[in-house]
Symmetry: C2
Subunit: 731 residues, 2 copies
């Protein structure tokens, strides 16, 4: 936290003088009097808004006469009481909206009937019986779910605040809201002050309760931490959880989840403390956070699954609906966001929600959202590595490569320094496993992260990067990993036909220097860009170097012989994740080799600078997995025993497999020969040959990222090569 | 062939008197003068037609100035010369359309430039060097591809017929068309007369050439076989390849392919021999064939993959575009077809094509295509078993079960008597492997059927049906399998809340009688219908009975313990397909057991009447597969050693897994206990219990399918049960 104090002091001084100065009326959070008027005025006129409203109304009306159960907490995630309490806050939240819009007391009564039960239950329960987490809840097995409950319920309460009798209000505040906010901000003080998305949920729930209860203490704590010293709280989170680019240190999957409390609370603050100008804080960090989150998705909507991430999560999630609506409203009505909102097919009950729905109804053509090639720096100061995302082609069929050289990423970080992922055709082509977890599925460890998340998914071997001596980066010790980060060596994303990113790491393995350079290169002789992956390793000692690629699709062919394990399968190793890989085949190629697979309607090949010292291993995930928790995904791995070594792999999308029109073209790769002419601390020189007289030289200067530097080197055969800048291709 | 002679004689006598009596002008096949006029008149006015036209135009214009290669045949499927000759006929065909519509001679010249090369090449080549098939081609490795070439090229030739000089016409006819039709109808006489889709392609190509060349001999041979004795030819194919319902004996995948020549040739006949009334033949068998093909698809567009079938084939295929357009035009403009045409997003250059495109442009709302619960009888007389398709729910989320009790289905038939497949949510839930083949992929045996198609995919073990003593139905001998078929015992598809189908087989295994009854039962207490699967086996001797289910999705849980093979995997068996299954775990349950998996956003369970004699085996496809030709799909298998035995399995879709809204409900099945109270030749009585006081009796009379028969039986405990008809459920 030290880092923060240095540059947040000015914020702190500046902000302590802001107090609540707006919205004396209820509701006052997201749904304000003004928004309610706007909704009432427009109901029946804006198709997308009406559709959203109708779905909320019918969902609530369906159960309005039911006796809603408020059970004594018993089950973990996915179990009955867990899911029931989740449904309850959702129903109250929606009924609150309906009451505000219709003034029909049946909705207020419905909320009251549920709140009455919580007011009875809550004072009688201690910590949740299933709580195994460091941060247990009372209604739920983890406090995180409880903050989400409060964040929704307080909005429902806000909506019927004026309708309730003073006695009822006293009862709910005394029995539910004050004990719960105390439970968060005092009994769970460590979590409350955490610079982590769990902390954000907590301060948001407490702060919003503060607004509704007109409780200045809760508001100040939520903004500046339980001690009001800016070491915790919302402002500190805004300063520390995002890099100056808006990149969120946990990665795309968790930023999605974090954006929810960030935006809900920000909007509540804006409506109640407009002078704080929360949307302007840190050069509009919330806007940057939103756009960087969107850039962390692929065109199919999925968040690129670095670190702990479930692949089924997309920009259709509720949190992105909210965030998008607010960003549209507060940051200049970017029309390209409407194409995303259209796919979400619903809006939020907010000013932004109405505006978005209105604009979609009015615009004749909606411009596409622009996914771009970008570099994001990690760390609050932007000096802790980062990620590069290289993109080529239209949204309908885009190549996308993510290169990860970021910091560890808190407790959900994976040990995958210099890893990469590759997409094409709207599909994963070279995948990251993501997390081993079945969210909310009771049978699968109550929906928690599974054991295999630790034993496989977060280990280095589960990623498309180098593993030294079958060990994991930093020996899998989080506290060590958090001390260091790789560094971007060079990147240039200005030329769409040659996108370049290159980073180095010297900490993940003792005595091993890693330098990976990835180029996305387009050429008129190719179907579409190829990825040239140059992974250079330096060490004084000999090690075993493994470089796996977890390809998606069906094995088609290799240019070499291999021994398949057709009648007996054994795991590849015994620890650090290797125990989870079945060894399915072993091959060898004395010279450049290619492996081809089919994914969707396109072929993909990896052409590699293999030699007689390279082992080629084929694997399938799923060994030592007694509960069948893992997906059975295939992989190919290149293994050498060496000190200094350079792996070169060209990933090439090629051909066309069209089952509808029944044809197939170019099922063989274009690349045929890769020679590492030279590779050392100063230079890596590759000579690449392929079909149709393809002949490229890839020239990388490894120790000078100056774009203007001239390089001249003389090869052993007398050829002189000269170029400008750290990386060049000569064709 | 004997069967045919009996009832085709009248056809034969009737038809020999028809001669070509229309269309003296060119073009005269699908694209007639009349159609051309219609197209010219409408161009620019019908969006879908214009889009189709534009895509054809741009595709041809792009290569119009290229020197098109007509290589000496060398490669098998997927290889260069193979794909080049395919492209060539496609280009000529399209250029023919463009010439007819635009009268621009550049298109005619383009076709001529290619035909000139073929006129040089064709006389110089013998059989294709890669021909390994019984029916080799000359331009292609199998004659099938060559018939497709001719069927397209003759249409191109027809379009420029009037533009060509007489000398050129003579050259092409002498060097290409006459030798090729001779090659088909004389040198390949066996294939030409075959009652098989390859035969249909051949007669269509030869017959259409006959029309264009005004060659009565070719026309008569194509209609009535090479000997003009009605033992072969198009009319015999119409009579023998379809059942009276229009069901095609090879199944849905191949009927799709067969419909192409059937409809192209029928439309050509209609345009040239209207008096033959080809569309009326055999009570409009072509209409029935088309609709039964459509009913053999699932709502996701895929042909339900019984027998040799590639799952990537859908109703978007060109052949279905043609057939649909002709059916729309010739059989009363069924508007529900337009919803399919809309998804196809293109039309054919025919009267039907214009009409379909026009109707789509004009209609405000397009009615949905209706997938229905149907029984199709197999065999030309409808007395060789068949298939039942049970369906429930809207197109957007439909349960669909196919039960197969059909005849063998020619050379592409699988050994899977009484097999079933189950779909839900637009997805496969219990799958059939389909065929082991990568169509046109050169590296995968030149795109042919792979070795594993024979060693695994067509074996009984690859299907969701009974395997006795680890052997395949009829010991895998096609000629034996073709002698017999199961018989429908009873089916009733009138009550959508209880769909019933039941069939028996006594031939597939010596001394083993099999009787499978499948019910799709809806109940207000359940999310949606469950499938009750009752598989009763009678034998005088003890056997090993295996009943596998190849579930799609991720393993979630079992109600029993099992031993997973976590560090060593071996194949389950050594032959008949068992050698391709890895044994992944073995379990046992002394009483009713459930296995649950997750697929998409829904849970599925199989609840089974297991007992202490049942072994439960979990498998994964892929052992003994050195070239990685097979998909690594999971399965669960129930194994008992018994003489008489009844397997009862309830397949239940349940719950809701929603990753977007982050909740999960009802991840456990509702069914808890299955008791087989009695099961013998006369009756099978099941008692089924479950959550929420679910208590069902399933009552099956096994030897009397009379719907009006009264049944009364007294159980050992004194209870008397009475019901009417062969199958009843009492709740």
């Amino acid at each position: 936290m030290k880092k923060f104090s240095i540059f947040s002091l000015s914020f702190f001084l500046l902000m302590c003088s802001f107090y609540v100065n707006a919205q004396s009326e209820h509701p006052k959070l997201i749904l304000t009097k003004e928004v309610v008027t706007e909704i009432t005025k427009n109901l029946g006129k804006i198709p997308l808004f009406d559709k959203t409203y109708e779905s909320v109304r019918s969902g609530v009306d369906e159960v309005l006469n039911n006796d809603i159960d408020v059970p004594v907490p018993a089950d973990p995630g996915g179990g009955y009481t867990h899911e029931r309490h989740k449904q309850n806050y959702d129903l109250m939240y929606k009924a609150g909206i309906l009451y505000s819009v219709t003034n029909d007391v049946k909705y207020a009564k419905f909320i009251k009937s549920i709140l009455d039960k919580y007011a009875e239950l809550y004072p009688t329960i201690g910590l949740h019986p299933q709580a195994k987490d460091q941060t247990p809840g009372r209604l739920f097995w983890q406090s995180l779910n409880e903050t989400v409950w409060l964040l929704h319920t307080i909005q429902a309460y806000d909506c019927i605040y004026d309708w309730l009798s003073k006695d009822d209000r006293n009862k709910y505040e005394k029995n539910i809201f004050l004990p719960m906010t105390k439970f968060f901000s005092e009994d769970s003080e460590h979590e409350f002050n955490l610079i982590h998305n769990h902390g954000t949920w907590m301060v948001a729930a407490v702060g919003m309760t503060g607004f509704v209860l007109d409780n200045e203490e809760l508001i100040q704590k939520s903004l500046y931490g339980s001690k009001k010293d800016s070491e915790g709280g919302f402002i500190a989170q805004l300063n520390l959880l995002f890099s100056p680019d808006g990149y969120y240190t946990e990665g795309g999957y968790y930023v999605r989840y974090a954006l929810w409390p960030f935006f809900i609370f920000a909007e509540s603050i804006q409506n109640n403390m407009p002078d704080l100008k929360i949307y302007e804080v840190r050069n509009q960090i919330l806007k940057k956070a939103f756009y960087s989150a969107m850039q962390m998705t692929y065109t199919n909507g999925e968040f690129i699954p670095i670190n702990d991430a479930l692949k089924e999560k997309t920009y259709l999630s509720s949190e992105i609906v909210y965030a998008l609506n607010f960003v549209y409203d507060r940051y200049g009505e970017d029309k390209t966001l409407l194409s995303i909102a259209q796919k979400q097919d619903r809006v939020s009950f907010s000013k932004g929600g109405i505006k978005v729905a209105e604009a979609i109804g009015e615009l004749k053509t909606i411009p596409e959202f622009k996914w771009e090639s970008v570099n994001y720096l990690d760390g609050p100061r932007g000096d802790e590595g980062g990620v590069s995302i290289l993109r080529w082609g239209p949204n309908s069929d885009m190549e996308c490569l993510l290169f990860k050289y970021s910091a560890h990423g808190l407790s959900h970080g994976h040990y995958d320094k210099l890893s990469m992922l590759f997409y094409d055709q709207g599909r994963e082509v070279i995948q990251d496993y993501g997390a081993a977890r079945f969210l909310n599925v009771e049978q699968k460890s109550g929906g928690r992260y599974l054991l295999e998340n630790k034993t496989y998914a977060l280990q280095t071997i589960a990623h498309n990067t180098l593993i030294v001596d079958e060990t994991t980066n930093f020996n899998g010790i989080q506290s060590e990993s958090e001390k260091y980060h790789p560094d971007l060596y060079y990147s240039n994303l200005t030329n769409p036909d040659m996108l370049v990113t290159s980073a180095k790491d010297v900490h993940a393995y003792d005595g091993v220097k890693m330098h990976r350079t990835l180029l996305m290169v387009n050429d008129p002789g190719l179907l579409r860009p190829v990825v040239i992956d140059v992974f250079r390793i330096e060490s004084e000692k000999q090690h075993q170097y493994d470089l796996p690629f977890y390809y998606m699709g069906h094995f088609i062919s290799t240019t070499y012989d291999y021994n398949p394990n057709t009648t007996l399968r054994k795991p590849l190793g015994v620890k650090n994740g290797y125990q989870h890989l079945w060894l399915t085949a072993e091959g060898k190629s004395d010279n450049t080799s290619s492996f081809t697979w089919l994914n969707g309607e396109r072929y993909y090949s990896i052409t590699s600078n293999t030699d007689k010292n390279t082992q080629i291993l084929f694997t399938e995930v799923g060994a030592n997995d007694p509960n069948f928790n893992l997906r059975n995904d295939p992989g190919i791995m290149f293994r050498v025993k060496d000190d200094n070594h350079t792996f070169v792999n060209i990933i090439e999308p090629h051909g066309d497999f069209n089952p509808t029109l029944e044809y197939s073209f170019n099922s063989y790769p274009a690349f045929e020969e890769i020679n590492v002419v030279q590779s050392n601390e100063k230079y890596t020189i590759l000579s690449i040959q392929g079909k149709n007289k393809l002949s490229w030289k890839v020239l990388i200067c490894n120790d000078n990222a100056d774009e203007k530097a001239n390089h001249i080197i003389k090869l052993d055969n007398g050829t002189e090569l000269s170029w400008v800048g750290p990386i060049a291709i000569q064709k």
